[in-house]
Symmetry: C2
């Protein structure tokens, strides 16, 4: 059971990490992040209770969250703060009424992560995914289909940004994440670790539905519009999803779901 503390003063210094959330979303938080909402909180406490620093909840929600508290360490503070005070602290009306401050795990280099993955594995490697909805959606799909890891190049946005966490339904907090350094060659890195780099691109002649999943598959996705770089595509196996009208019109998160579903279930029966 954690440590419950009722706080009535919005200026209480113990609430510092929760102050003016929106304004601080895009600036550093010194290795911390904010998670919001019951569903995300449940996922967070289930997957990484040791990284929960504190909780801030409207006391009206205390009963509904009972089994969440069971998962927390004794010393973890749960601040009980009435909705109106909570809104003042957060800086906007937080209708979800549930917040947590978590500690980010240390950023793992992609190469280290790849070295630890099993013989058969699927990773998703993202290039320049700067939209939090898309990033969150891809992590959600990675969790749903049991992908082993997500790799991010330096032009991707932060998976610990509040909106990315929310859209991923907490998956950015649990899916193994590796970081590709600036100047590192992602295709070399993947190929060197025995992964077949599959570059999703509308120009590919090979269709996804014709692909027999390799033992170690890396799904390479670029941002909507520009897509992956010509260099990455040239050095990977190009895979396409043909579309009506011939124009590239799938959302990148939806694309990740279709590819991960195929890798998991599409090839095995043939």
């Amino acid at each position: 059971m954690p440590h419950f503390l009722t706080i009535a003063d919005p200026a209480d210094p113990r609430l510092a990490a929760y102050r003016d959330i929106r304004e601080r979303d895009l600036v550093g938080r010194e290795g911390r992040f904010i998670a919001e909402g019951e569903t995300v909180l449940r996922a967070f406490v289930r997957d990484a209770p040791e990284r929960v620093e504190s909780l801030l909840i409207d006391p009206k929600r205390r009963d509904k969250l009972a089994e969440v508290f069971d998962g927390l360490a004794e010393e973890t503070p749960v601040y009980l703060v009435e909705q109106a005070v909570l809104d003042t602290v957060a800086g906007f009306h937080l209708h979800r009424g549930v917040l947590a401050v978590g500690r980010k795990p240390e950023a793992t280099p992609a190469a280290d992560l790849l070295a630890r993955l099993p013989e058969r594995a699927v990773v998703v490697a993202l290039f320049g995914i700067a939209n939090h909805d898309n990033l969150g959606g891809i992590f959600r799909n990675a969790a749903a289909f049991g992908a082993d890891a997500v790799l991010l190049d330096p032009d991707c946005c932060d998976p610990f940004y509040r909106k990315a966490i929310r859209v991923s339904v907490g998956a950015t907090l649990s899916v193994l994440t590796g970081y590709i350094g600036r100047g590192e060659d992602a295709v070399d890195l993947l190929a060197g670790a025995g992964f077949t780099p599959l570059a999703l691109t509308p120009a590919a002649r090979r269709m996804l539905s014709e692909l027999d999943p390799p033992a170690r598959a890396a799904v390479l996705l670029g941002t909507e519009g520009p897509g992956l770089s010509a260099d990455v595509i040239k050095r990977s196996e190009g895979i396409g999803i043909p579309m009506a009208g011939g124009f590239d019109s799938l959302n990148v998160a939806t694309t990740s779901g279709i590819v991960l579903h195929h890798l998991r279930f599409g090839g095995g029966r043939r």
Copy 2:
């Protein structure tokens, strides 16, 4: 070529349809809708130029839109309005700088629409999809995979709502849409028209990847969380997408993409 008119006064009555867009998003517009952004506008003019009532653009964007204007009738007004005035009229900073007012098509009853579809057809039938992001995402996928129609039950949100249009990248303006009336039995309607109703539900024992696409397929999707009603599931063919951890964690728009991809490409090669 349409009719270009420079307007400098934000109170000009010709701009009435563009006024205070956000506040009016959820109220009636007497059969009209607002489309925004270049990509959506291109799709709209390409797919339904006869339903474009007027355009409102920042004159700086005139050159970039030249081929869009070519698709418009001579009498269609294009209001040229400087960005600052445009923001005043719209009621917020409209960084896309491009708006259109369109006329909605007449709402087609689902039964009438089904009767006109070809021998082989795929429709997506939506139940209670009240989230504009999800509705827009499903229409986008329906267009990408060439679904023949989308059917909406009375608890779905309006596909002509500005955000639904934007997220669909204009697909809600072009994909054939049929409306299921309150009290109408959607499963009967579909079965009566020779469609196999495929109810997507995590409880199903049959996996999507095992499904041989029927000649006339109807993909039934319910809202995230509650899902489809027990009655609809019982009277349909249940189809599931197995997920890691066994819990239902796919977004409904992503689900539609995975199912439509399978119906189009998954079964044909076996």
